[in-house]
Every structure is written in C-alpha cells, then in structure tokens.
C-alpha cells in the first residue's frame, strides 16, 4: 500500500502506529564505486556491523559510470529502490567523476518525479572507504525510506 508523506505524518499525529507497520520488504539494487563506497561496505563487513539484507551491490569503477538510465532499468525490473553511492565530492579517485555524477543524479531525480515515480526510490550517498558505520546507516535509511513508499508496481500496473 502506497503511503504518501502526508499520510504518514497524519498517522503519526493521530498515533495510528499499527497501520504504519508493514511486512513489505523492499528489494534494492545499489551501484557502488569500487574505490570508496565498495571499500566502505567491505569495511562494514570486516567489522561485522549488522544491517538488513534487502540490498544487492553492483560494483563499478566510479560514480561517473552510474548512468541514471540504469535506475530506469532497475525500476522496470521491479526493484523497489536504487542507490548510487560514490566517493565524497573532492575525493574522487578519478578526480572529477563524482562531480559529474552528482549533477546527473540531481537532474534525474527531478525527472523521475515528473514521470510519476516517488523520487525517494532513487537515493544517492557519498561513502568513503573508511566509513563503515556510515555505510550501515545509509543502508538502513534507504531501506526504511523505500519501505515507507511501498512496493514498486508501476511497470506491473501497465502490464510489463
């Protein structure tokens, strides 16, 4: 069941907590740059941090490789959320790649909204190779956000 932000706020106001809960477990595909975010996720594993298992990771060289069109493909294949994660701006291994990526993501999220997707389905994070805790936090936040939106049935609805 899709819940808009105002729905959720109303329910919190009226303390209607029961209906906020959902047993929907989103399936999320994450693109991680191999120098920073992927290494940060590795570190989270090495340090045995714990987070929910909703996310699957695809390794790419740089956030600049993350073509926003991949997000459309993910949504077409009924993933509920997509995460693009790269190096912090200023720290890109390839010097400027993440600056280009950042601009593309900002524009694309607006576009997603225009074509009827909740923009929260496309998430962006900057996680460095040393930020294991941040990675775990990002994963939890993305899963929680997408849970609140509900399952992605956009393509199923139109028969694809």
């Amino acid at each position: 069941m899709q819940q808009t932000k105002t729905d959720i706020e109303k329910k919190i106001e009226t303390q209607d907590f029961a209906s906020l809960q959902t047993d929907f477990e989103p399936k999320i595909l994450a693109f991680l740059c191999k120098w920073c975010s992927y290494a940060g996720a590795d570190l989270a594993g090495t340090n045995r941090l714990k987070y929910p298992p909703n996310m699957r990771i695809i390794r790419v060289p740089c956030s600049a490789r993350m073509n926003p069109l991949f997000a459309i493909k993910c949504l077409e294949k009924n993933y509920d959320g997509v995460l693009f994660s790269g190096c912090h701006p200023g720290d890109c291994h390839y010097s400027e790649g993440n600056y280009f990526a950042r601009r593309r993501f900002i524009v694309f999220r607006k576009l997603l909204e225009t074509i009827g997707f909740d923009p929260r389905r496309l998430q962006v994070s900057w996680v460095s190779a040393a930020e294991d805790k941040k990675w775990a936090d990002v994963v939890r936040k993305v899963i929680e956000d997408v849970k609140q939106i509900g399952p992605n049935e956009q393509f199923k609805k139109i028969g694809l």
Binding site: A41, G45, P61, C62, A64, K77, S95, F100, A136
Partner: protein
Amino acid sequence: MRIGIFVCHCGSNIAGTVDVKKVAGSAREIQSVVFSFDYKYMCSEPGQAMIINTIKEKKLDRIVIAACSPKLHEQTFQKCLQNAGLNPYMVEMANIREHCSWVHPREERTTQKALDIVKIYTGKVSHNKPLHRLKVPMTKKALIIGGGIAGANAAMNISVAGYQVTLVEKENQLGGHLNNFKHTFPSLEKTEQLLENIQTLQSNPLVEIYTDAEVKEVGGYVGSFRAKIFSKKSNEMIEDVFGAIIVATGFDIAKQNGHNSSPDIINSLEFEQMLSNGKIIRPSDNKEVQNVVFVQCAGNGQSGSVEYCSKICCMYTAKQALLFTQKNQNNNAYIFHNDIVAAGKNHEEFIHSVRQQDHILYLKGNILNITANRHSLKVQGTDVLADVDVTIDADLVVLATSLVAREGASKVAQMVGIPYDKNNFYSELHAKLAPVDTVTTGIYLAGGCQSPKDIADTLASASAASSKVLSLFNHDHYEAEPFTASVNQQRCNGCFDCESVCTFNAIEKVTLKNGNTVARIIESMCQGCGNCLSACRPAAIDLAGFSNEQIISEIEYAAN
C-alpha cells in the same frame, strides 16, 4: 558458453551464516551454468588446483567465485585462469562474505541474498570478453621541468639509478630560490652544500641541462611523451621523447603592495637578499638599519590575505630576525603575528629559542598604520596579550607576503596537461593515495609548484616523484589495466560531449575515410572511469570490464 560457479565456505566465515550447499545447488539452475560446487577454502592450494582441474575437465570458459571481496583474491584467481589456459579476465567475484555473511544473521534471507549476488555476477560474467593488458614501450629518459632544488634533486636521483635525464631551466642558472639566501632554518645550515651538489649535475654524463630554456609543447603519453624545448642560447627548438615527466617549476613570493608609501617597506625575499649580501641599508636614504619590524601573514597586500598558509614564513622570519640581531648588538627585531606555524621537525624548538633572544620581540597583534617620516617609519600596531597599542620607530618594515604560484603557472599546466587549483598550484591526483602523481599517468609533481613547502619537504617530494619515475623505468613496458573505453565509430555522432567530460585528455578527434569526424579513445591515457559512457547519448562508447551489456545483465539476473 560454459560457466562454472565455485562457492567458498571460507571456513565458517561464510558457511556459518550462509547455506553454501544450497547456494551452490541453486546456482546450478542459472542459465549457461554447467558446473557448481562448494568448497572450504577456494584460495588455498588444493582449492586453486581444483578450480584449474575443473576448468580443464568441464571445459569451462568463464567462472564465478562466490567468496570474499575481490580486493583480496581477484589476482589469485586470475592466475588460476591463466594456468588453466583461459584469459585471466574471464572470472568475476561474487562478494558473499563482506557484503553478506559477515553483516547478516543466519537465516533464509541471508542465503537468498547470497544466491542473488551469485546470480548478479553470473549475469556479468556471461558478457565478459577476453581482455589484454596494453603494453606501451617505455622510453627510459625523464624530462624535468624546472632546475631549482626540487628538479635538480630529482635529476640526481634518477641519474644515480642509471637513467638519462633532461633538465630544463628558465633562468640562466640552476638552483632557483636557493640562490637568494645563505642560511636555512632550523639549523642555520648554509646553502653552499646544497648548491654545490646541484652543480655536480653539470658534469654528470646522464644529465642533459638546458638553462635559459623553456618547454614549449608537450604531447603523447606515458612511455612516449614528445616535448619541444626552446633554447634562448642557441635560438633552437629541441625535440625529444621521454618516458616520464616531473614538473618542478616552483613558486614565487607575492610582491608587497598596499604599502607602496615607502621604498623601505619590503618583502621577505628582498630582506633575505640584503642579509646574503651583507649590506642592510634603507633603500630610501642608504642609512644603516637598526630596528626592523617584521609582519607575518602579510598576505597579498592589496587583496588581503589568501586562504591558505604559506607554511615557511614564520620559520624564515624567525631565522631572519635571528641573523639580523646577531650582526650587531644594537639591532632590534619586532615580529607582529597572529599565529605561529612551526609544525616541522625541530621547528617549534627553533621558534622557542628565537623568542628567548633579548633583542627579538614577538607581538601578537595586527599593524594598524605605517607612516613614512623623513628618516624612519612610524609603525602603529596592537599587542593583544598586553592589551595595549604599540608604536615603533622602524628603519625597515619587512612583510612576509604569501607564497604564490609563479606567473604563468596556469599556462604551463595547460601546456603539460595537468590540473591546477584556484590558487594556480598544481593538483596532485589524491592527497593521500597519490600525493605526487597527477591525473596523467607518467607526469609527477615535485616541490613548491604543488603547494608551499620548506627545503626538507621539497626534497622529500622530489625523491618521491623520482621513485615513481624509477618504478616506471624499471620495466621495458608500461602495462595498463585493460579496463579502457572504446568508441563504436559507426555510432558516434561527433558531438564530443565525451571529450568535454574526460578528465584525462584521453579522447581525440579522428577523421574517417567517409569524412566524418568521430571520437577515438587513447587507450594508454584512459583510466576507465566510465564518465564518457554516461555522457554519450548515442551510446557509442563502451567500457571493457564494466560494459553496458554486463551491467544490464547484472540488473536482470537477480530481478523478480
């Protein structure tokens, strides 16, 4: 296509939370998978032997290893493939340890996730193509731009290792700023030894020195950079090929301005020259100098201070004050400052000892005003710690202005093909991972052109740059990772959006036989970031190792 899946237990690291037998069993159902097996330790000797034998027996043409992060054993398994007669790039690693078994509890969802990860990388490997490292021949001759201590030191290091060096210096002598002073901090050691060392380069048969010369053009790539050097002496253009380049063009000190009211307000370099010459007299009336006011953080004068710290001024001002007061017991030095930066080895101790001197006074506060009288300068300032205003009758005011990039530094950087920051200092590839590399493989930075440095740090960075060059020259070829982009020239529409986003200048224009001008990737310069792919609207560019087909497969194979 015959894919083999190898699921590793990693002892109990993976098998403790993931049902590895189930993963191996289910992976057997994925399309084109003809073999799937689980084993305790894939990276062990017997594990590797099993992989090699299985590839040969089952005639596998590509494999997936479901185990730890590729950072650990990707190379190990690439060697296995080579030993089995396959191209080393026909393996993909599915990370089911760091990204799965180590971060989730022992439950069905964890096993399901591990299987999804295996599916994703099976999808990827189904589109892997054999790749071959590009071998670029290495010309074992280095070009060093700049003959100051950084460039000269690099020339020494590289020639000692037995390789040829061409050293190009704009002025008519080597040594750069070192020629301007006699004593160095913190030990007050003389510069003579350093300058003598530099002069030994003249008789070094491996080092070719061009003074009164400038590099006018740089092209090519690592292993074969082509450079044009113009010599003013012979009025000729010299062309040569180099395997690597070190940029050591140094820095300058900002001219003092905003205090143009008197010729007796000078900058630190000018005072240093007076100290070296032994003649310390007022420029206006040639009178002897007894009282000198030094001003730290004098910035750029007119436009105020710069954002960065010039690092060496607190130290050399202390040195100058010490040398000056040692010349005559009537000499006095007053140093106005806000902070004192003395972070180097033995630097704090030096400042401490200078502060103890009777005729040197450190005043924490700003200058309010300088008025030029007939025979002296009236300097008004504040002493924040004593909470009073002070007035000093000075013979000379010495401004420690900022160290700045040389005039024309940005043009030199553009010619060489390296980026620079908003202060025109040259950018290193990564502050920590690659502090002397630039974005262009084979071009390195040494000394003050990168950022303000003292002599010790300058020589250290020159040694670092030299060692990078030597590790290139140690091989006859430069082997580039094969994850480079390539253009389908039939699809390319000649918009060159790719060229405009390529940080590494790895894209050039070529004209085809049919007259179309299209893009071509210079393989040896391409770093494989994939930025051009995202910019290419006709999808004419693809990236080996992370191709569009591979990524789409990765998305599809584990989808619902």
